[in-house]
Amino acid sequence: MFDPALFKLPGMRRLTVILSLLAVIEGLCIIGQATALSVAIVGLWHLHGLATIVQPMLWFALAWSARQLLVVGKNHLMYPFVERTTGDLRRRVMQKLYQLGPSYVAKTGTGNVVTTALEGIDKVQTYLMLVVIKVIDMLVIPWVILIFIAIIRWREALFLLAIFPLIIIFMIILGYAAQAKADRQYVGYQRMSNHFVDTLRGLPTLKQLGLSRQYANNVYQVSEGYRKQTLAVIKIAMLSTFALDFFTTLSIAVVAVFLGFGLIDGTISLLPALIILVLAPDYFLPLRQFASDYHATLNGKNAFAAVQKMLALPVATERQQLGTQPLNWTANSSLSLQAVDFSYDGAQPALKKINLTATGFQRIGIIGASGSGKSTLINLLGGFLTPMPGHGTISVNGQPVTHLSQQAWQQSFFYIPQHPYLFHATLAENIAFYQPAAGISAIGRAADKAGLTAWIKTLPAGLETKIGEGARGVSGGQAQRIALARAFLDDRRKILLFDEPTAHLDIETEAALKQTILPVLDQHLVFFATHRLHWINQMDYVLVLDHGQIVEQGTPAELAQHNGAYVRLRQEMGGAI
């Protein structure tokens, strides 16, 4: 019911105590309201006039209003805490996200990350709001009522006491039965519920195959099958609600009948009997309220656990081994990796014994078949991935570092992937992303160097046009040019990491883009991963990767002389033509 992590939240203990006290007062109000109402009814039952019951009626009104006010009051008390906690969680999730970096997003999926931060925390909010008050009510109010009933008449109190755990046990047993049944059917169930979206997404293909009309009946059949299975599960799942309902209403009926016999026997008089009868539904109310929100709380609990798990993930430490200021990379600077290993899962190495030294403004091409580890190596060089600890050494300008997720290093390079991300902002803001203080004329010059001027002229608001949102309205070639404009705008970053920048472009766009890229390569340390072979002509050093290892490295001319991996790869790729 209660996640232990809840109690670790700041302010939670104090709040629990206050809410418990308020629950006791609420219990007393319920008793007061029941007693006043019973006194009024009994007065009328004795055929007394309206004037005689004005006082109990007022007391009833008072107790009833006080009770409802307490409900609102508890919410008011709880809410700032919930708001603070969830706001805090959102901020912490965002901070954690920044520390975890893009490799975490790649692994988890953008959709999942966004869902956790948005809907996940919404669910946590609902959970906190519901669960704390309801659980406290359930643990306090029934006892207050029960003690009062016991003072009046212990027999009914004993019955009510005994039935309470019985209900819970039944609900748990039936809950498990439903879970087991649902689990058995889960696979088929899941497939059918996904079937519809699957079919919709595949519609163009169905149409191409001439199947789209007859598939309508298939959709209906599968949905009907889904209905039958769902009903089978619901029949069991609803049993636990049924048990709760059954025992509570039947208990009230039993209490009423007990009291009836007691009254005939003369062992009790009408007033106490009526009070007990009025109180009986309120005795069960907190339990019913808790049960009705049980599923919402379950979702919230899982979401809470997921958020806690994300916040507990380890992050790269020692990110300031090179200081916090960008490096001043010169012709004499150097980067060296010796026998570095990397693994995604901690067992199977994805990169093995990487040895490489890059100095000054070298241009280093990285080639290899798909799956050979080109992108992994670029990500390692960018510090988005951290090497296996204790496997090999990395040093920058002779200074050893544990990984390249160094603040100083990351502020010294540009990373240009196959699909550069464009922010949902104006074109100018996108170009100036790395230099938010840059003036509009500088941005315009950078855009011009990147060959964007002609395109910008066709845009409604020029540089101030909003782009982004999944790069809509911007072609692949233009997106690359925007990324290049960022590099033109900021010439202090002397290192460039390219990861297949032109692979998906049509050949004419690629040829034109190449003319723009070439001048950027001067006076920069370049790492260029590609399977478009013509780029190799512009490189002065090449690494050939195969199955996560550098199998050959040297200048293109040297490698062309050997009849090794480089020559074989070129032949295989060139064979495409």
């Binding site: 009814i41 009328l44 039952w45 309206l50 409802q68 006010l69 409900v71 609102v72 919410n75 809410y79 969830t86 959102r90 965002m94 970096g101 893009p102 931060a117 497939r191 699957d198 079919t199 919709l200 595949g202 519609l203 163009p204 169905l206 598939y215 309508a216 009946n217 209906y220 949905s223 009907e224 209905r227 029949k235 049924f242 059954f246 209403t249 039947l250 009926a253 009948v257 016999f261 007691g262 005939i264 009408l270 009526l274 009868l277 960018g382 991300y421 922010f423 992303f433 692979a503 049509d506 050949i507 004419e508 690629e510 190449k514 013509h534 002509n537 790729m573 060139g574 495409a576 033509i577």
Partner: protein, 582 residues
């Protein structure tokens, strides 16, 4: 209110279904009503029972009937409730089956306008969600409201039977709970809903932007900017939720107060009406106690109704779908085998734009010919394909197969064209089922033969479940090249004379690409092929090359001719081979 009625004016999604499974619907509502009736009746009866018992009747049989009734109502309430839950779900799920079929048919009319990118994927999920949403409209709003209103009418009538002015009073007080408060909720919520969605949507966009651009944030070193950017939407969302909660708390408080007043009113009324003698005074407790079980049923109406604006959006969206049947009276068939595809003097401009895509375009393709179409993105390669397939109608000029306009061959399409595009869709079922979709009548042996022809046999045989392996969502079990091969096998079974290749290799590496192209042109050697490609790898497989630029073909000829004649072609060709030094 006008808005409410306007939603249903041309409604084909909500109202017709209320009529469709009438009996089940009536049963659901009856069971729901009985649930609350039993709840109230239990307290009513119990109140009467103990009042009567307190008069010390000389014979226990005097209270025998109330005792039995008490138990009956006690068991009846949970039983009716359970039955109501089952029948209401049964009813709603039946409707969902109908909805799904209908949605499918509506969407399938425009199937080809849906490109398989993630945005339209989202639109589809959205529509699928809308259906689930309408499901909740019934369960959370319609049923509880109808039941509460029926209870309301019954109670007012019953009390009015005893004393007309008291009936009127209850009409007023309970009317506050089941009519005024829900209307107030929906008004307040309707205004807030659109703003809430705006904020939520803003935060969603902001977050997605932050997550997808995380790499850039990280290396830009703008950590503080990144944090600061989230602060505003976080506090906006918090403020929004705060208002929502406050409103709900005080609304529920008001409803509870009204019930307090109802109790007091009952006491006052009883003091006039039921205190004439001892026997009638026994009914006082009955009436007063029966109020409490009603609170639940009537309070939930406000919350249910306040959710209306979000349902309304879903209803509007599905109603906006075109569900009219397709007009196909002028469709015909190709009587002769396919001999000639002709595009003549084609003019086309996108609707709502002035910019013409094609102006007087001509293209002829005879049976067995293979043609490659190149051009920078945005020049209209895909548009040309859609015109050829008949998904778009030309502004002027003709697209014909053997002199029959393509628009009249739409029912024949699958027999005439096979299409292999960038991301052929694989359904979440077995390999056999996926491939057999090309030709439902194909035998197992024919399916296997097709898979063998596309060189997938060794791979499939190495899988534990072999040909019965499930491809998983979107075919994610297989690599890009393997997915294309599976789709190619499907096309082989389809056996159409014309094959459209729409950049099938764009996301593949060069080695996979060249192997796939070898297979494609080998197995399709006797077909007519129109191949849109982004570069020149594999260009030697075709007879003709066309470069599309500014709505015209600016280079045309065989690959060899172009290589000899056109310096630009030569340069691109060398670049693609990695020979270009620049």
């Amino acid at each position: 209110m006008k808005d409410f009625l306007a939603t249903f004016k041309h409604d084909t999604w909500v109202m017709p279904y209320l009529r469709k499974y009438k009996k089940l619907l009536a049963l659901t509502l009856f069971l729901g009503l009985m649930t609350f009736f039993c709840g109230s009746a239990l307290m009513f009866n119990s109140g009467y029972l103990i009042s009567k018992a307190a008069r010390h009747p000389y014979n226990i049989l005097m209270i025998y009937v109330p005792v039995v009734l008490t138990r009956a109502f006690g068991i009846g309430r949970p039983a009716f409730r359970y039955a109501e839950r089952i029948t209401s779900h049964n009813w709603v799920l039946r409707i969902v089956s109908d909805f799904r079929k209908k949605l499918y048919q509506a969407v399938s009319k425009h199937a080809v306008a849906i490109r398989q990118n993630f945005q339209t994927g989202d639109v589809l999920s959205l529509l699928a969600d809308d259906i689930d949403h309408i499901e909740n409209l019934y369960l959370r709003t319609v049923f509880p409201t109808v039941i509460a209103w029926t209870m309301y009418v019954l109670i007012v009538l019953a009390l009015g039977y005893f004393t007309w002015w008291f009936g009127l009073l209850m009409l007023l007080l309970l009317g506050l709970v089941v009519i005024v408060m829900p209307l107030w909720s929906v008004l307040i919520n309707g205004a807030r809903e659109s703003r809430g969605r705006q904020i939520q949507q803003g935060f969603y966009t902001q977050l997605t932007d932050a997550v997808m651009g995380l790499g850039d944030w990280l290396i830009s070193g703008r950590q503080q900017d990144f944090y600061d950017r989230q602060t505003k939407p976080i506090s906006e969302i918090a403020a929004l939720r705060r208002q929502d909660h406050r409103f709900q708390w005080w609304r529920d408080f008001t409803i509870q107060l009204i019930f307090g007043v109802i109790c007091l009113a009952l006491l006052v009324w009883s003091s006039f009406y039921w205190t004439t003698n001892q026997a009638s005074a026994n009914w006082i407790a009955a009436f007063v106690l029966s109020v409490f079980p009603l609170v639940d049923a009537m309070q939930s109406v406000s919350q249910g109704v306040s959710e209306w604006p979000s349902y309304q959006r879903s209803i509007k969206r599905v109603n906006a779908l075109d569900t009219a049947p397709i007009d196909d009276h002028d469709q015909t068939k190709l009587t002769e085998p396919f001999a000639l595809l002709r595009v003549a003097d084609l003019n086309y401009a996108y609707p709502q734009t002035q910019r013409p895509i094609f102006h007087g375009l001509n293209l002829t393709l005879t049976a067995g010919e293979k043609l490659a179409l190149l051009g920078p993105s945005g020049t209209g390669k895909s548009t040309l394909l859609r015109l050829i397939l008949g998904d778009l109608t030309p502004d002027a000029g003709a697209v014909q197969l053997n002199d029959v306009p393509i628009a009249r061959l739409q029912n024949e399409r699958a027999q005439l064209f096979g299409v292999l595009d960038q991301q052929p869709y694989l359904f979440n079922t077995t390999i056999m089922n996926n491939v057999r979709m090309g030709n439902e009548d194909a035998s197992d042996a024919e399916v296997r033969a097709a898979l063998k022809a596309v060189a997938l046999e060794p791979l499939i045989q190495s899988l534990p479940d072999g040909y019965e392996t499930v491809v998983e969502e979107g075919g994610s079990r297989f690599s890009g090249g393997e997915r294309q091969r599976l789709a190619l096998a499907r096309i082989l079974l389809q056996d159409a004379p014309i094959i459209i290749l729409d950049e099938p290799t764009v996301s593949l590496d060069p080695i996979t690409e060249s192997k796939l192209l070898d297979t494609v042109f080998e197995v399709l050697q006797d077909k007519t092929i129109l191949w849109v490609t982004h570069h020149l790898a594999g260009i030697d497989h075709v007879d003709q090359v066309r470069f599309l630029e500014d709505g015209q073909f600016d280079m045309a000829g065989t690959p060899e001719e172009l290589y000899r004649r056109e310096a630009r072609f030569r340069r691109l060709y060398e670049l693609d081979r990695g020979q270009e030094g620049v």
